[in-house]
Symmetry: C2
Subunit: 212 residues, 2 copies
DNA sequence: TTGATATGACTCTCGGGTAAATTACCACGC
DNA sequence: GCGTGGTAATTTACCCGAGAGTCATATCAA
């Protein structure tokens, strides 16, 4: 079995750090847009313009590659959350400042948001821990706000607080995802829209549910 | 290659309609709890106490089986939505009546809710159409309510209306999913919780975002 | 005997992961 | 300047397991 010539083998000579960043970017985009399960390692390699074993030499496994994507995206998002949380705003205003920050951070990399809500990823302890760590910062901040809101109304039920925190996280996610699906809307416009919507809801003098 | 005996082959004689219902129930539960991708046809067959080829003889393919699950679940849910929508309530009260109906309908089959939000299913035109058809009824009803809320505040932006409808759908889903994760909470209790939470939010006299 | 019900054992494809070989570059002695 | 060996970068070709889907055959009731 005489080996046939292998075009381009070794000819690139791209430094490790550069190649690694290239692969990571391709992977983040692919995973974010199509989901873990729908993306094969061959896809990532092809998108990055290289062969599959090279991807493995850099990231070890598909799960390892996804983990690197999570860390990359998580650092971007969590750092932003921490920054806006430290800005001293409270109540609805803090929620809106947080949204504004996220919109600006994601502006040119919108797809990374979905990495953290990818139901098709394997539920391994390693990945679970990373997702948990990063999402905790976001949900914690939200829970503070919603708990405060309930307390103002005299509600001290811990399950109510937990459920409302989940609802708020879902609202946050819905706003971001809606924005992901409307690429023509800028971060600035989306911030203004969020202000209008949240104000409309909390100020709504609609027919409240009468008892019974 | 003398064929060995096949224990139980053909010995059951279960009527088609009965077997079909058994398989469907197993499949709905498995798909709903673990997701399309994580469930194999062998799993379904084993759970239903039969062999894989029998599942194929009834539903043709994995996608066909999932389609049947969607129709089964969709009929339950959509019928319920239509019924509560016709009850004549408006505003927040209608939202709560709708939630109450869904909670009661799902009480003994909570997992079927997730079938419609399963990101691991194949995105074929056939399945897309079915999901679209069933979810349309739910989101449409929601959009009516949110549009009305915006209009009361003088907001006529169609994109705002679309985004708020998405947010409301997300809130609805978040409440149901929170409930799925708290099996000890009854439908009745969950309805009461929803009333408290939505009332708290819409009636919140919190620091509104000042201009600028 | 016939037809409905049922199954063990198989094929085939896809995708994660690997082994071994190949190319290019670089440092070094002459 | 120029062979030369070491090493990093990269490839082709393969293995392997899982799971979708099929076929020929077996059992049983009427």
């Amino acid at each position: 079995m005489t080996s046939r010539p292998r075009p381009n083998a070794g000819s690139k000579g791209v430094p490790r750090a550069v190649r690694e960043a290239e692969i990571l970017e391709s992977a983040c985009r692919a995973f974010g847009e199509h989901g873990y399960a729908a993306v094969s390692m061959t896809d990532v390699a092809h998108d990055a313009g290289i062969s599959k074993p090279l991807v493995y030499s850099y990231f070890g496994s598909k799960e390892g590659l996804f983990e690197a994507c999570l860390r990359h995206a998580g650092d971007l998002i969590a750092d932003d959350i921490d920054r806006t949380a430290a800005s001293g705003h409270v109540g609805l205003e803090r929620a809106l400042v947080t949204l504004e920050g996220i919109f600006k951070t994601l502006e040119e990399r919108r797809w990374i948001w979905r990495l953290f809500f990818d139901a098709t990823r394997p539920a391994t302890p390693a990945l679970d821990a990373i997702v948990e760590r990063y999402t905790a910062r976001l949900t914690e901040r939200g829970a503070e706000g919603t708990a405060e809101m309930l307390a103002r109304g005299g509600n001290r039920d811990p399950l109510d607080a937990d459920a409302l925190a989940a609802v708020w996280a879902s609202v946050f996610d819905a706003l971001v995802v809606w924005w992901l699906n409307h690429p023509e809307v800028t971060a600035e416009e989306m911030t203004a829209r969020s202000v209008r919507l949240l104000s409309a809801v909390t100020a709504d003098p609609s027919p409240a549910p009468s008892a019974g």
